[in-house]
Symmetry: C2
Subunit: 373 residues, 2 copies
């Protein structure tokens, strides 16, 4: 069975400490179900990192989906796209017919500021929280001449500007100077180069593809975990995992040439993340990823627009919701529904999500999907 | 494909705040892999409730299982058997060939005493923590004459005595008077009628059944969530869900008569839980479950021994590990490996796990499996 995304929906994103998690989920889920059109839902996969135990069935029930199998899955920041992957596999294998993938997170009620490392997390205790981990990659890229501060800033300028068009809560019109002049978080990453924590939910309905124009086939999808960083690797954190998983997704999609991709949403938790990821995906040569935003190749109107939604930098990063928000953007791009930020004639899109793991760099997960036909 | 449990393994259970979660996992996993015999592992499903984000890949990597898909699943106290269910489905559908289901929890480092309700949990804030929820069921059963204090105590006497035979950390030889005389937790449930929180890990290796005697086929398994309690129901909390899910498991197993079951491990988080569950499973008539432990029917040597391992009452309840510890007991009973607590001639066994949900009664999950041939 070829699977397709039948419908997508997003809640409002941003800081909503006063909203119940079930209400955020309902915003996303009701829109996705309406978008997909009528039909019974057979199962729900819920992706969340911080959601309390039992949140999946609780949210599903609040949304009127009681009594069907509800499974909460967690792969750190990739939890949302992992829910999509599981939904896809369930439909592909005939286990279920119509499945909801729902990602959600309410971070504003959990803590303020950066995510604190777990007590049991040796990397976190050593200071290797996620901003530091990405900063190490950025420093190394700067040291080898693979990226400049201006190029890092260009990613934030592009994504925050895209976010203005998509109505993302942290979108804005910034100069590179303003990006670089914002408060230093982890050298060389300044505040505006870091995605904000946020609240939000996103959903996708997956079912067998019947060729209806508004359905977007999942042409290939792959998931991988573990072993993302190895001091013996020639690459920075995350590169090897993204490369390995993306090649499996390309093979599953029968994608011979990444130049066929028209648009991509990738995990820009930090500016350097987008750059390293584009290289790992093969959308740039190694050491050349820094030039893409600077030259406009990845801007709207460029060769391959990347993060037309504004990405995590503009949308914020409600962990479990992020992957499905990326999926929603690509699905709507391929349907031509994106208005001012529409990538003209987009037929093939890519989603990539990277899960760092609050509990350390070993807890890595990556999902890559090629959508469209 | 008919699936089978190829091997099982348990870590030590009890209080182990000094042990790393990965070390506990390794104890269980290495034993299960050795028990299953050689063969590559294609994927890992990790069941945990309190494990930090990213714990699945981290633990798998620490155990030498890097680079393969690792998915952390959560359905409250049923997370371990949910991992088994997902492993079974993956093998049945040909998605993977050999899959590990791993359950783990380290509760002693997270808190002392009872599990605290989440801030967002309305039932918990109202005082309906799990002991109170079960106490309501016990009170109602007492009120309608369906159970006596002596009958409740008889469950604890039996299971803690069985635990002595299995080496369970909270096993012991108690009189009914000692059970009833222990500290009151939630009237009428006294301390010795409540399962202790604990640390531990348990694992099962699942693959296609090839008829080898040491393999135990998964004859039927079902999972359900949501809608476990409804004030309009004629039954107490959990009854309807267990009944519904068990009937699906029986149908999947082609089990026409529950009298064919030789042994069962059920979710005795509190004494009343075992009683209500046996009625919901059909192993007792409604209102008759209280008599089974008192008359010895569910004792070792009785008609259908229940919780020969000592159950949650004697083993403690490391949430995610519990379901797979139940599976390990039934698998070894069906192999005739249980020594002093062996149920003679056991051919067909049942596992039932009930997930309450720290975040409220809506977050309910139940898994029922019929093992054996």
């Amino acid at each position: 069975v070829t699977t397709a995304v039948l419908g997508v929906g997003l809640s409002r994103f941003g800081r909503h400490p006063d909203r119940d998690l079930c209400a955020l989920a309902w915003e996303a889920l009701s829109r996705a179900l309406e978008d997909a059109g009528p039909g019974p839902v057979d199962a729900v996969y819920v992706g969340t990192v911080l959601g309390p135990s039992g949140v999946g069935p609780r949210v599903a029930r609040a949304c009127g989906l009681a009594g069907i199998p509800v499974l909460t899955v967690e792969t750190a920041c990739a939890s949302g796209t992992t829910a999509l992957f599981e939904a896809h596999e369930a439909v592909r294998l005939g286990r279920y017919r119509r499945v909801v993938a729902l990602g959600l997170e309410q971070m504003s009620t959990a803590f303020a500021g950066a995510i604190h490392p777990e007590e049991s997390d040796p990397e976190g205790r050593a200071g290797l929280a996620l901003p530091a981990l990405y900063a190490l990659a950025a420093s190394r890229y700067q040291d080898t001449g693979a990226v400049t501060a201006e190029q890092l800033a260009a990613v934030a300028v592009k994504n925050r500007a895209n976010g203005l068009l998509s109505g993302a809560p942290y979108g804005g019109s910034y100069s590179r100077g303003e990006i670089l002049g914002s408060r230093m978080i982890a050298d060389p990453l300044t505040l505006l180069q870091c995605c904000p924590t946020a609240d939000g939910a996103a959903a996708a309905v997956v079912g067998p593809w019947d060729g209806t124009p508004e359905q977007v086939p999942i042409r290939g999808i792959a998931s991988g975990t573990g072993g993302a960083w190895d001091h013996r690797s020639a690459h920075v954190w995350g590169f090897d995992l993204v490369r390995r998983v993306s090649r499996r997704a390309y093979a599953a999609a029968g994608l011979d040439d990444v130049a066929d991709l028209d648009v991509a949403e990738v995990h820009d938790a930090f500016t350097i993340g987008e750059i390293v990821t584009l290289e790992a995906l093969g959308l740039a040569e190694e050491g050349e990823g820094g030039k893409l935003a600077e030259t406009g190749e990845t801007a709207l109107g460029g060769k391959v627009p990347v993060n037309p939604s504004g990405g995590l930098l503009a949308r914020g990063h409600p962990l479990g919701a992020t992957g499905l928000a990326q999926v929603a953007e690509i699905v709507n791009q391929l349907r031509g529904r994106c208005g001012a930020r529409q990538v003209e004639g987009a037929r093939l899109g890519l989603v990539e999500t990277m899960g760092g793991g609050v509990s350390g760099i070993d807890g890595n997960a990556c999902v890559v999907a090629v959508l469209g036909s």
